[in-house]
């Protein structure tokens, strides 16, 4: 092995790692939304991927049609999506809170189909992209270049923003009253409401926060890949859900860990093993982990409610 080859191989490795981490932080952002909702309601919120898609589309629409500056559009999209998350819960899940879990699941699937087709009708099926000129110019420049490895400011931004948001979320859950209420509901909703916790308000907050993070991921993906289309939430949603389960569903740190692992596994799987089996490698890792750790990486095994 000569020097060139060693250099090539190590830079390939680093490239895959940075890509994996970028991908992973996006999965983690979406996965946290799943896991938070699951924590309080034990519901797989299938429409979460669609909230992510809506976030991207709203920001796109504001930037390209109304000429809103990018960061303002980003913020507006986040607010709209949080509100939408609350509405989603109010409309599709709250009436079913006392029904069996799978009933709410079907309602979620219905919402997911509806939102996908709504986006299709509003924005059309063609792939959309943010106009280059309206994006901050910093995004397209490279933060760091070394030989074959380069890292764009956007990648750094995505990574940092995810980390910051995760810390904020962690703070909210651990150190605020709402967070404490959320944890209480996760343990026993009935007892929590008997203790004077306003169940509806806390659940609404959970949905708003989850949708907020989902929308962040949506806009970031829309900018990073410069592609937005109506069914983009489907695959991302499934992967993120898998990540949430991998980390132990209901656990926020678990979702972050699961998302990162899945992203890195995908990058390395496609880079080193077989690109045709890229998703398969991610799923296989997930299955293996769950077989040996049946409650996910950081999950606690609890007796299941149905």
């Amino acid at each position: 092995m000569n020097w060139q080859e060693v250099l090539d191989r190590s830079s390939l490795f680093l490239l895959q790692l940075t890509n994996g981490l970028t991908l992973g932080s996006i999965y983690a952002l979406i996965a946290v939304g799943y896991t938070m909702v699951y924590g309080v309601l034990e519901l797989i919120n299938f429409a979460h991927g669609e909230v992510y898609m809506m976030g991207a589309f709203i920001a796109y629409h504001l930037v390209s049609v109304y000429d809103v500056p990018f960061f303002a559009a980003f913020a507006i999209a986040l607010v709209i999506c949080s509100a939408f998350g609350i509405f989603l819960e109010y409309f599709a899940y709250r009436p079913l809170r006392d029904a069996r879990r799978l009933v709410a699941l079907i309602s979620a699937i219905g919402m997911s189909i509806f939102l996908q087709n709504l986006a299709l009708i509003i924005w059309g099926a063609q792939q959309k992209s943010f106009p280059y000129k309206k994006l901050p110019s910093l995004f397209s420049s490279m933060a760091f270049t070394l030989g074959d490895i380069n890292l764009s400011y956007l990648q750094v931004f995505i990574f940092l923003l995810s980390v910051v948001l995760m810390f904020v979320l962690h703070y909210i859950i651990r150190h605020t009253k709402t967070g404490m209420a959320m944890r209480a509901i996760a343990q026993d909703a009935k007892a929590a409401s008997l203790m004077g916790i306003n169940l509806n308000r806390v659940i609404s907050f959970t949905f708003a926060a989850g949708s907020f993070l989902g929308a962040v991921a949506g806009v970031l993906v829309g900018v990073y890949y410069n592609a937005i289309w109506p069914t983009m939430g489907y695959m991302a949603g499934i992967k993120a859900f898998a990540a949430a389960v991998l980390g132990g569903i209901g656990s926020v740190p678990g979702a972050i860990l699961g998302g990162t692992i899945l992203g890195v596994a995908e990058a390395f799987g496609a880079g080193y093993i077989s690109s045709a089996y890229r998703d398969g490698i991610a799923y296989a890792i997930m299955i293996l982990v769950l077989i040996f750790k049946p409650a996910g990486l950081l999950g606690k095994s609890v007796v299941q409610r149905r």
């Binding site: 069996r100 799978l102 919402m111 898998a242 569903i249 045709a276 299955i287 049946p294 149905r306």
Partner: protein
């Protein structure tokens, strides 16, 4: 229940033009019954022992491809093929069951999902075996006693037979020791085990049975369409089958039949209704009904799902 089925057959018979090679209503009815078989199969796991299975389409695909590879090009009597397909389905049900026995709830669900995605991915990528995305085409109809089925009404009776068989099996099981044991596992696995029910054995039985139903349906599907292609086995199919079970009211045979009756024709009904609406719009000169309205089918379908759950959260039955 049996009365319901008889009623269904009676109502459909007037539309069976024997001899006609293709027939739309007949085709829909066949598809309806195909989904009933699938839903009955999934119900063994999701309804009887209470485990959410998101990967049912994997067995469907295994059945279709086993059948296509065995008898797509060779003249093997269909009864033998059918038997092999069922055994193959069972085998995979057990193979999937062994590592997942210890999993609970949604962990089980996501493993089944990963499993089915892996199956479809293998089908898509292993071109030497399955022809991958080129698909296996020109699969002949099932041949029985020297006769090869090809007309729509012949397939109609074949699936009617399979469905009847499936209902008989499920009904007999439901009211037997096995059925009661499974119900006990669904209600409380720990308590069931404490009562001396070997939960692992019954769960394994449920996995195998459920998988063989899926495989049987897949076999029929491949011969009926004449094609086996990885596009036929999207994740969405698993979800659709799950919807049938839950909309009907989980666990009972009659609920499943009702769920399929309502859900499967809906998209086709919407197609016809929206097309009529758009044609009426053009002929009456109403411009705000654009011809694009025909593409709102799934938008409406989504709303219907949500509303159905809101209005009848316990399923249509009950």
């Amino acid at each position: 229940m049996t009365r319901g089925l008889i009623l269904l057959v009676l109502l459909l018979i007037p539309w069976i033009p024997i001899g006609d090679p293709i027939h739309y209503v007949l085709r829909l009815a066949t598809m309806l019954m195909l989904y009933m078989v699938l839903a009955l199969g999934l119900n063994v796991v999701t309804g009887f022992i209470g485990y959410l299975d998101l990967g049912y389409v994997g067995f469907y695909a295994i059945g279709a491809y086993t059948s296509a590879l065995l008898s797509g090009y060779n003249d093997i009597p269909y009864l033998i093929v059918f038997f092999v397909v069922i055994l193959h389905g069972c085998l995979w049900g057990i193979l999937r069951g062994i590592p997942t026995l210890g999993l609970t709830g949604d962990y089980f669900a996501i493993v089944t999902f990963g499993f089915s995605e892996l199956i479809v991915l293998i089908i898509r990528n292993e071109v030497w075996l399955t022809r991958g995305p080129m698909g296996i085409t020109g699969i002949k109809g099932p041949s029985m006693f020297g006769y090869t089925l090809s007309r729509d009404w012949e397939f109609f009776y074949l699936i009617l037979f399979i469905l009847t068989l499936a209902i008989v099996i499920i009904k007999r099981m439901e009211n037997s020791r096995i059925g009661r044991a499974m119900a006990a596992i669904r209600d409380d696995e720990v308590a069931a085990e404490a009562c001396g029910i070997d939960a692992r054995r019954y769960k394994m039985l449920a996995f195998a049975l459920s998988a063989s139903f899926g495989a049987a349906a897949g076999s029929f599907y491949a011969h009926w369409l004449g094609v086996a292609h990885p596009d036929m086995f999207h994740f969405w199919e698993s979800i659709l089958i799950l919807c049938i079970i839950i909309i009907g009211g989980m666990g009972s045979v009659s609920g499943i039949i009702l769920g399929a009756l309502v859900l499967i024709p809906t998209t086709e009904l919407l197609r016809a209704a929206l097309l009529a609406l758009s044609q009426w719009g053009t002929s009456a000169g109403i411009t705000f009904i654009s011809p694009d309205i025909v593409n709102a089918r799934y938008l409406i379908f989504g709303i219907i799902l949500v509303l159905m759950m809101r209005l009848r959260p316990d399923g249509l039955k009950r």
